[in-house]
C-alpha cells in the first residue's frame, strides 16, 4: 500500500476533497491550520486572520494502482493554486 501526503492552502480544501472522492479514494485524513513554506510562498498563522486560511495536510492510504487516478484529478489543482504531493510506502498494521 501507499501513503500520499498532500499539503496545500485550506481555501482549496473542498475542491481537493471533491477531486479525491472522484478518484474513489477509500478514505482520507485532514489536518487544518498547518503552516509552512514552499519554494514561493510563506504560509503563516496570520493568514488565518485575513481569512486566507493556512494550509491543510491531507493523508490518503491507498493502493499503488489508485495513485495514477488521483494524480489525474488533483494535479490541475496543485498546478493552479500551488501545493505539494509526496508518496511513501505503508502497510496495514
Amino acid at each position: 500500500m501507499k501513503r500520499l501526503d498532500l499539503i496545500f492552502s485550506e481555501r482549496e480544501l473542498d475542491q481537493m476533497l471533491k477531486s479525491l472522492e472522484k478518484a474513489k479514494v477509500p478514505g482520507y485524513t485532514v489536518t487544518k491550520h498547518v503552516t509552512g513554506r514552499g519554494p514561493e510562498r510563506v504560509v503563516s498563522e496570520d493568514m488565518e486572520f485575513t481569512g486566507l486560511g493556512a494550509n491543510a495536510h491531507v493523508i490518503v492510504f491507498c493502493d499503488q494502482a489508485l495513485l495514477e487516478q488521483i494524480k489525474i484529478y488533483i494535479q490541475p489543482l496543485l498546478n493552479y493554486y500551488g501545493g505539494v504531493a509526496y508518496v511513501s510506502d505503508a502497510e496495514q498494521l
Binding site: 493568514m47 488565518e48 486572520f49 485575513t50 481569512g51 493552479y80 500551488g82
Partner: protein, 331 residues
C-alpha cells in the same frame, strides 16, 4: 496639520493597545493572541457594527443624505481602484496591480470603527447610516479588480483560468465578512422595526462591551501589522510609499466628495476614512481564489502592515484636520 489632534488620537485606549501590540513584536516579547481568538473578535465586531448600523438606519430612514452618500460610496469604490491601478502599473505586473488596487478600493471595518471611537472621544456627532456606506463599499472594488485582470492580461492566462462570473460575484458579495456585516445590518433593521424589546436586550452585548473588545482586537492588529514588516522590505520602497501616499490622496478626493454631498463633519470624516482605508479581510480571500498569480504578501503587507497602522495612528486625525479645514461648518 493638527498635531494636537494626532496626540489626542494616540492617547485613546484603542490606539494605545495597537501600539502595545506593535512594540511587543519589536521587543520580541512572546505575547501572542492565538487563533482563532482574533477571528472571534473580528466576527463580534462585524456583527455588532452591522446590528447597530441597522438600528440607526431604521431610525433615520433612507431620506436626507443617506441615499446620495450610499451612491457616492459606490462610485468611490469603483473609481479608487482605477486610479490605484494606473499608479501601480508603473512598477508592477497586471495581476499584482489589480489585486492591490482592489484592496485599496475596498474598505477596512476596523479603521472605520477606530474613526468612530475617535469622533466619540472628540464629542463630534456622526450618523449610523454611514455603516451602510461601509457595508456597500466592501464589494464593488473586488469586481473592478477582476475586470482589470480580465482586460489587462487577456492572453497571459491559460484557458482554464478564464473568469467565471458567477464565482467572482460570489466571492465579492458572499465573502464571510461582507455577508456577516450585511446580514447583521439587516437584522438590526428588522429588530429595530419589529422588536424594540430585542434592541434593549442586545445593547449590553453589541453596545457596552464593544469598546473593550475593539481595544483587545487592536492589540492583536498591532502584533499582526508589525509581523508584516519583514515581508514589506521585500516588497520594496515603491509599495511602502504607495501604501502611505495613496490613502492620503484617496482621503483628499473623499473630503471633496463629502463636501459636495454636504455631509456633517463627523459623517465627512467617516466617508473620508472609508476612501482612505484598504481591505485586508474580504479582498485577500477573493483575490487568492480568483487571481492566484498575484503575490498575497504584496496586498497583505501594504494594507495590513502600512496603510492600516498609518490610518489608525496618523491618518484619522489628519483627515479630521482636512475635514475641518476644507468643509465649511454649517451655521
Amino acid at each position: 496639520m493638527d498635531t494636537s489632534l494626532i496626540l489626542q488620537n494616540v492617547l485613546t485606549p484603542p490606539v494605545l493597545f495597537f501600539f502595545l501590540g506593535t512594540i511587543s513584536v519589536f521587543l520580541k516579547s512572546d505575547l501572542e493572541i492565538p487563533a482563532p481568538l482574533p477571528k472571534l473578535f473580528s466576527l463580534y465586531l462585524l456583527l455588532a457594527i452591522g446590528f447597530k448600523g441597522g438600528l440607526e438606519l431604521q431610525k433615520s430612514g433612507m431620506g436626507g443624505p443617506v441615499l446620495p452618500t450610499v451612491c457616492a460610496s459606490i462610485l468611490m469604490s469603483l473609481l479608487i481602484p482605477l486610479i490605484c491601478f494606473v499608479v501601480l502599473r508603473l512598477k508592477l505586473n497586471v495581476f499584482n496591480s489589480a489585486a492591490i488596487a482592489a484592496a485599496y478600493g475596498s474598505i477596512s471595518a476596523v479603521t472605520f470603527i477606530t474613526a468612530e471611537s475617535f469622533l466619540e472621544s472628540q464629542s463630534i456627532p456622526f450618523d449610523g447610516f454611514m455603516v451602510a456606506a461601509l457595508a456597500i463599499m466592501e464589494s464593488p472594488a473586488i469586481i473592478v479588480g477582476l475586470l482589470l485582470v480580465k482586460l489587462g492580461a487577456p492572453k497571459e492566462r491559460p484557458i482554464e483560468r478564464k473568469m467565471r462570473w458567477k464565482e467572482i460575484l460570489h466571492e465579492s458579495m458572499l465573502n464571510g465578512s461582507v455577508y456577516l456585516l450585511l446580514g447583521s445590518l439587516l437584522i438590526g433593521l428588522l429588530t429595530g422595526a419589529f422588536n424594540p424589546s430585542g434592541v434593549a436586550k442586545m445593547q449590553p452585548f453589541t453596545g457596552k462591551i464593544f469598546y473593550g473588545v475593539e481595544c483587545f482586537f487592536l492589540l492583536d492588529m498591532g502584533i499582526v501589522a508589525a509581523q508584516r514588516l519583514p515581508s514589506l522590505k521585500k516588497a520594496g520602497s515603491f509599495l511602502i510609499g504607495f501604501a502611505v501616499l495613496m490613502p492620503i490622496f484617496n482621503a483628499l478626493i473623499g473630503v471633496f466628495v463629502a463636501r459636495a454631498l454636504g455631509l456633517q463633519p463627523g459623517n465627512a470624516l467617516l466617508f473620508t476614512v472609508l476612501c482612505a482605508s484598504a481591505s485586508y479581510l474580504a479582498v485577500p480571500t477573493a483575490m487568492r481564489m480568483t487571481v492566484p498569480e498575484a503575490k498575497s504578501s504584496y496586498y497583505i503587507s501594504t494594507t495590513l502592515g502600512v496603510t492600516f497602522p498609518f490610518n489608525v495612528v496618523v491618518g484619522i486625525p489628519v483627515y479630521m484636520g482636512l475635514v475641518n479645514n476644507l468643509i465649511p461648518t454649517p451655521g
